[in-house]
């Protein structure tokens, strides 16, 4: 039912336990950007024009175009039936003809990398970060990691340190997005479980800001980028 595009710039990236993840390519590409522009609604076009720099503008355009097509297919609706209002905290949700759609989704982009995760229900968060060298890595560590997390990251050097930091940060941001408040929560108020910090691919925890809700966090990183998925596990114990 979705509007066809000449060639999709997204493809399946995995389906961990009922969650579909799509990777979105965000390199400059005039044909893809032209296709994506035809998919956006008026509000999204205003938002697209507001971005001051070409990179963020392109990231938004190509991710939103992919999101519209992917969710349109999943929900069996036409592109023009879809809209994306946001909660008071800025988290987008999907409607079809003005009615809340039965789907959870999360979108993230960084540099040329984009990810979209979606599932039939439950809290969901995805995050991706480009593994570009950072001159301010110590500052970032102080800003977003707990003490044990900082010690683990600091035990690495060079590229391993950068990779270790972004592995933890993507997990933390995915959890914050699954919560719904995102960066409105201080990320230093919780830590990734020790086993996951030391290399386990996934683990479970409860956020102090969301007692009684168990979230599973999973490493989706590759050689080229750090990424993580967080999702609610109904009825589970951490």
């Amino acid at each position: 039912m979705a509007v066809p595009v000449s060639a999709p710039w997204w493809y399946p990236f995995g389906a961990p336990e009922g969650v579909s993840v799509v990777r979105v390519e965000l390199e400059p590409n005039a044909d893809r950007e032209a296709d994506a522009l035809t998919l956006l609604d008026d509000e999204e076009l205003v938002r697209w024009e507001r971005y001051p720099y070409a990179g963020p503008r392109r990231q938004f355009l190509l991710c939103r175009g992919a999101l519209r097509t992917v969710l349109g297919e999943a929900l069996g609706c036409r592109n023009e039936q879809l809209a994306f209002p946001t909660t008071e905290d800025g988290k987008p949700w999907a409607t079809v003809d003005g009615t809340a759609a039965a789907i959870s989704f999360s979108v993230s982009h960084s540099g040329p990398h984009g990810l979209i995760a979606f599932a039939p229900e439950g809290r969901l968060g995805v995050d991706v970060e480009e593994l570009a060298p950072r001159r301010n890595l110590d500052l970032l560590m102080d800003g977003v990691l707990g003490e044990a997390e900082k010690a683990d990251v600091a035990s690495n050097e060079g590229e391993r340190r950068l990779r270790s930091f972004f592995r933890l940060w993507t997990m933390k941001e995915a959890l914050l997005k699954a919560h719904g408040k995102g960066l409105l929560i201080d990320a230093t108020t919780f830590e990734i479980p020790r086993a996951v910090r030391r290399g386990a691919a996934r683990g479970r925890l409860q956020l102090p800001q969301l007692p009684g809700v168990t979230l599973q966090v999973e490493d989706l990183g590759t050689e080229g980028f750090a990424a993580a998925l967080a999702r609610e596990v109904p009825g589970a114990r951490p």
């Binding site: 500052l139 970032l140 977003v144």
Partner: protein, 79 residues
Amino acid sequence: MATTEERLRKIVDDNLEIEGRTKGDALDLDRNIGDAGVPSPDIVAFWKLVNEEFGVDISAEQFAELLTPRDLVAHLDAA
């Protein structure tokens, strides 16, 4: 004495990596840093640096309402 805007620009120049922005560029007072492509951990670091530099205790939720330099300057000057 440096103005609040000048002090904010120095924090940005010294610490943030914003795609398309050159160190020393004037701050666009009405531009939301979330729209400028500032990576998420840098936004968090910026919030903490502002609190440290100005000796204030802006919460994460308050900071989310102060994402243009103009709003942030007004808040800091009124503190």
